[in-house]
Symmetry: C2
Subunit: 412 residues, 2 copies
């Protein structure tokens, strides 16, 4: 007798626990940096699980892992998934939840003995985090043709190894050509990584789009000098200039308001000694906005400020663009699909924008895409204390399963 | 025939060149961190040279090297010297000049066949810079009883080794007891490390005292969060708090004016990533003033500011005192001695305070002390481009020689 497919929460939690033993950090959280030994072990486990539930596994040349479940017709597949790599001090759900919930959806269909008109394709994209190798979402970016494979291979990580070397070393430079499947649609289930759903007591977020992002590395060259002997007005102090930038970036974001964010997350001083006026500083500025023209304005205001600052501080300031992605808006019918599915499951749902980048942002160039968010306690993300309640994990997986089923029945 | 002793500039320059081959950096400047292989090589050369000109060499338990030249009477010796270690990117003269000029003064006396009533003692103190092992002026501080030998031995350096281990490894944990000679007086010749003499066209500085110094390590704990998803007003950003401190410290020093200096020289962020709001920051604040009560006021203003900042930024701020030395005033008769000697040599001289710490600051606890400064081009210091013109090197050495001769003839 055919039953309606249902998410088995215990099976999903069991897989999350088992997978998170890989790269577990002593105090909690996980470190599975892209293409590391831990990433390899995670990939091996995922491939095994995919095969155990009958998915046909392909690995493409950038290491994206795609498990296909046949449909009744030879149509473009419905793709869903996320990533299994983490930042250096990552949490238990970022990326992994979307992949394992997709695996659970496939297994739920198996148990219900249910086929779909379209094939299904569960994907784990390579190096979404970008913590070891820039840029983030590398696997999906290569998949959609936004970055040439050879360029990606040549990227050198923070430890000196290249993407190409490491892919070969861990055995995940596959034969499939990135982009070999053009999906009918792409869905990505993910924790919110922010506080909105929790604060407003929603269980599901229907993601309207992804914030645009501008990353700038700022290098300041002043003059090293003795902290005890150099008069204040003769200094060319790279640390003071750094301080002014950190204060300005926050004021800029607060002044613009709305969705504007601004962060100085990295600061390196040279020679970085208590009694030496800093000669050089390298810092990063992360600006984000959901509105393309506002993001451009923020970029311009930063550039203007740095120009004034260089004169005022008698330092040289050089900038280098580390990343720039325009905001992405997901198609209205995809966002509605998530809302409708949540409503049918009686799950409180609101629309929101993602402030974080995701593989869905790249996949949107190739096919209709959107994301499903579930709450993150305290909005914590990229933090070992990241937490989402089991009932929310179950709710998100159910929305994913049911939205996939609707998409898989679509003819066009 | 006895001639008047005279500094031989070429001999002094030759020794500076030869010594500075040790730990020479590719682009100029020197790295002879305390108790490193390079420091050992420098010490070995100094001991050889001391012996070649007939000094009796003693090494004390903290590694201070003292070369004694006998006097006509068994009186307290006149001590002079400085240090031969450098910061990581040090110049050619800081410390070394004072030692080699002292060596040259002794050799000039030999060549003039001149004895002195009092013995002379040329000293090279251990670890004046404090770059590898805190605190600075460790050798002289132990010598005057300001730091217990066992405490100094236990100090762990930035590379994990301890002072005791490294002293034994390089063979400079000597037998003499620190403080075994109580000098009649102490004189230290040094480059100014600041711009005053050059800017005002003086050749000699008679040092009235040494600026007091307060070093504070500030640790800020906020909360790591995603740079794209965390609303600006919910952040507890350790990097923003750091920026506010860097800006405040400068404003504090400029607002107080006079001799007040303020420097944030070291900043470390964690996790220090472009897209993560910094959870933690550790930075240093270096405050200096020649006036003890003003320095105390500056300390208090910093403490008050940090308290307000912690509330305003919703971060925890802890402080740790890294060093605190009260301003030192040298005895008027010692300062006058330098002035008089310079005047007799027709060298333009002015009084000034030292903004940098020196071994003379510690020795002043034990005996009358002062310093002789010569100009530093551009005021550069702790910088590979540190430079003092040969005629100024000669002038300083001549003042040292003649001031030493005056002191060595004093009965009481």
């Amino acid at each position: 007798m055919r039953t309606s497919p249902r998410i088995d929460l215990q099976r999903l939690l069991g897989r999350l626990d088992a997978f998170n033993r890989i790269g577990a950090l002593p105090g909690g959280g996980n470190c599975r940096l892209a293409l590391s030994e831990e990433d390899r072990a995670g990939r091996d486990l995922l491939v095994r699980w995919m095969r155990e539930i009958g998915l046909r596994v392909s690995v493409d040349a950038i290491g994206n892992i795609i498990g296909t479940r046949a449909g009744r017709e030879e149509l473009a597949p419905v793709m869903f998934g996320s990533h299994v790599d983490t930042v250096g001090t990552g949490g238990r759900y970022d990326g992994l939840y979307g992949v394992l919930a997709g695996l659970e959806a496939c297994e739920a269909l198996n148990h219900a003995d249910q086929t779909t008109r379209r094939p299904l394709a569960l994907v784990a994209f390579t190096n979404e985090e970008g913590s070891r190798f820039p840029p983030y979402a590398m696997g999906s970016l290569v998949y959609v043709g936004g970055l040439a494979l050879e360029e990606a291979y040549a990227v050198r990580g923070i430890d000196g190894a290249t993407v190409g070397e490491e892919l070969r070393r861990i055995g995940y430079a596959g034969n499939a050509c990135p982009g070999f499947l053009t999906p009918h649609a792409y869905l990505e289930l993910h924790i919110e990584q922010g506080p909105i759903l929790e604060n407003e007591h929603f269980v599901i977020g229907a993601v309207e789009g992804i914030t645009g992002l501008s990353w700038t590395e700022v290098s300041i060259t002043g003059r090293s000098a003795h902290a005890g002997t150099t008069p204040m007005d003769l200094r060319r102090d790279a640390a003071c200039a750094t301080g002014e930038i950190a204060v300005f970036v926050r004021r800029l974001a607060q002044g613009m308001g709305g969705q504007q964010k601004g962060t100085v997350g990295r600061i390196e001083l040279y020679p970085n000694l208590v009694n030496v006026v800093a000669e050089r500083a390298v810092l990063t500025v992360d600006l984000r906005n959901t509105d393309a023209s506002l993001l451009q304005q923020a970029d311009q205001q930063l550039a203007d400020f740095l120009e004034r600052l260089a004169q005022q501080e008698h330092v040289a300031i050089a900038t280098r663009r580390l990343a720039r992605f325009e905001p992405v808006s997901f198609p209205a019918e995809m966002v509605s699909l998530v809302e409708t599915t949540a409503r049918e499951l009686a799950l409180p749902c609101r629309r929101l924008f993602s402030g974080a980048g995701h593989d869905a942002q790249m996949m949107a160039r190739l096919c209709p895409a959107t994301m499903i968010f579930v709450p993150s306690v305290g909005g914590l993300s990229h933090n070992v204390h990241e937490y989402t309640a089991p009932e929310h994990l179950e709710a998100g997986a159910s929305v994913l399963l049911n939205a996939v089923l609707r998409l898989a029945d679509e003819v066009e």
